[in-house]
């Protein structure tokens, strides 16, 4: 049996199982697949789906681009000049496990409730992983290539631009995919707590404004699908 058929059947089975589980359970609030599809239709037809998706994507784009612009060059440089990596490394290692969500109180304090907070949180969440990926990628550049570059008399910056960056490209792309995944997770979380629009907000709003769990799950599905599309887009573009 061809693989895509297996996938299609598995998805169909999952949907049916979901439907059955909901019908059999006591929890009257959890929606079944039909209710969710209707809710999706409702969101799409009122234009809210589109607007919220755009808002979330907007924030991700800004926060993520800033993080790349700051994190990648610094990371490449640090990875290349070993001494820099040893000096800065421990601090980065310490900051990394701090959940971006732990920054929410500070974000609200500095930026208030709105786009800036979300963008800040996305930046915080992705800049360190990107920096570390870039460091790792720079260190992975073949010694032989580095020797050849110095042999030809290239300056430090030139080496970074003409040798390190192209060599590190594959590893960088892998790291960017992971960081984009993080950014997407964080924007949703940030919107649930610190912002008044976007797909994350839509989930919280749907529940608060009347226990509309069908809208909640519809929102979750949209988030999942868009996240998947983002990942595929990066994979294609690389």
């Amino acid at each position: 049996m061809r693989n895509w058929m297996v996938s299609a059947i598995a998805i169909a089975v999952a949907i049916v199982a979901w439907d059955v589980a909901v019908r059999l359970s006591d929890h009257t609030l959890i929606p079944g697949p039909v209710a969710v599809v209707r809710a999706l239709g409702e969101l799409a037809s009122t234009g809210r789906l589109f607007r919220y998706a755009i808002a979330s994507l907007f924030r991700v784009t800004w926060g993520f681009t800033l993080a790349i612009a700051v994190g990648v060059p610094i990371g490449l440089a640090l990875g290349w000049w070993q001494r820099g990596a040893r000096i800065v490394g421990p601090v980065i290692q310490f900051m990394r496990p701090i959940s971006p969500l732990a920054w929410i109180p500070l974000a609200i304090l500095w930026f208030g409730v709105g786009d800036a907070s979300a963008i800040f949180l996305i930046f915080i969440a992705t800049v360190l992983p990107l920096m570390m990926t870039a460091m790792q990628a720079a260190r992975g550049v073949h010694r032989v290539h580095a020797m050849a570059a110095r042999n030809f008399g290239l300056s430090g910056v030139q080496i970074l631009r003409r040798v390190v960056l192209p060599s590190a490209r594959a590893d960088l792309v892998a790291g960017i995919r992971v960081a984009l995944g993080i950014a997407w997770l964080v924007v949703v979380a940030a919107e649930m707590i610190a912002v008044n629009s976007g797909l994350g907000f839509q989930i919280v709003d749907a529940r608060n404004a009347g226990d509309r769990y069908d809208l909640v799950v519809a929102g979750m599905l949209t988030i999942g699908l868009i996240g998947l599309m983002l990942d595929n887009a990066i994979r294609r573009a690389a």
Partner: protein, 244 residues
């Protein structure tokens, strides 16, 4: 030795800058240190840290118990992969936080909800990663095992599993990091103890930003320790070969 001193110096410079530049509301390192001391005296530091660690331990264990076998199976059988992968790929980008409303509906307020979220956060990355690692095992190893007449279950146990172990350890370490990040978020709702709860409550119940940052520092420190413990596992001889 010298580079450690330089690293320390760098960290101190940053702390110094923070102390000098902090505004009125955001506290500097000195106040944060005092905040940590206060938590210690009130007995909350240990209690909250243990609460968070306990939730992560259980959630992470569930994630491993589900994710590793699933990943192995997905890696071994392209049919299973075709069946399970679409679901994994759709569910994975959904932030665990987005599951909170559903988690509360299913589990109510209490320990189960955060543990569910943590397990959720860990299971998809683990399954995905393990499936990928299985595919990178050199076919030569499996061929040699077949040559010696081993049965399929024996091949999985004696060849495939040890062969993926180093890469799997790396992925498990990263997944633990993710779970640790999520526990903080999971504790922002639905519970009344733990480091995540501390961070939110300190702000809401009195704008104690010194405690907020103290909480962040503790989260960072414990996360770092967990990571280092895991890395120590990588030195064990029967996996060290994978980390050259």
């Amino acid at each position: 030795m010298r580079s450690r001193l330089e690293a320390l110096a760098f960290a101190l410079v940053l702390l110094g800058a923070w102390q000098l530049l902090h505004g009125k509301v955001v506290p500097g390192p000195v106040e944060v240190a005092k905040g940590i001391g206060e938590l210690w005296e009130r007995g909350l530091l240990v209690k909250y840290a243990l609460d968070s660690l306990r939730r992560v331990a259980i959630g992470y264990a569930v994630a491993c118990a589900l994710g590793i076998p699933l990943g192995l199976w997905m890696g071994l059988s392209s049919t299973v992969f075709a069946a399970a992968n679409p679901l994994v790929q759709i569910l994975r980008p959904i932030s665990p936080i987005a599951w909170i409303p559903i988690a509360i509906v299913i589990f109510g307020i209490g320990e189960a909800a955060p543990i569910f979220l943590i397990a959720l956060a860990g299971v998809f990355p683990i399954a995905s990663a393990v499936a990928a690692h299985v595919r990178t095992v050199p076919p030569m190893f499996v061929a040699a095992a077949r040559n010696f007449g081993l049965s399929e279950p024996q091949i999985v146990r004696r060849v495939l599993f040890p062969a993926v172990l180093p890469q799997m350890l790396s992925s498990l370490r990263l997944a633990l990091g993710v779970c640790w990040i999520v526990v903080v978020a999971a504790e922002m709702i639905a519970v009344d103890s733990g480091l995540g709860y501390l961070i939110i409550d300190a702000r809401n119940a009195g704008k104690r930003y010194d405690l907020v940052i103290a909480g962040m520092v503790l989260v960072g420190a414990i996360g770092l320790v967990l990571d280092m413990l895991f890395r120590a596992l990588e030195k064990i001889p029967s996996v060290r070969w994978g980390f050259r």
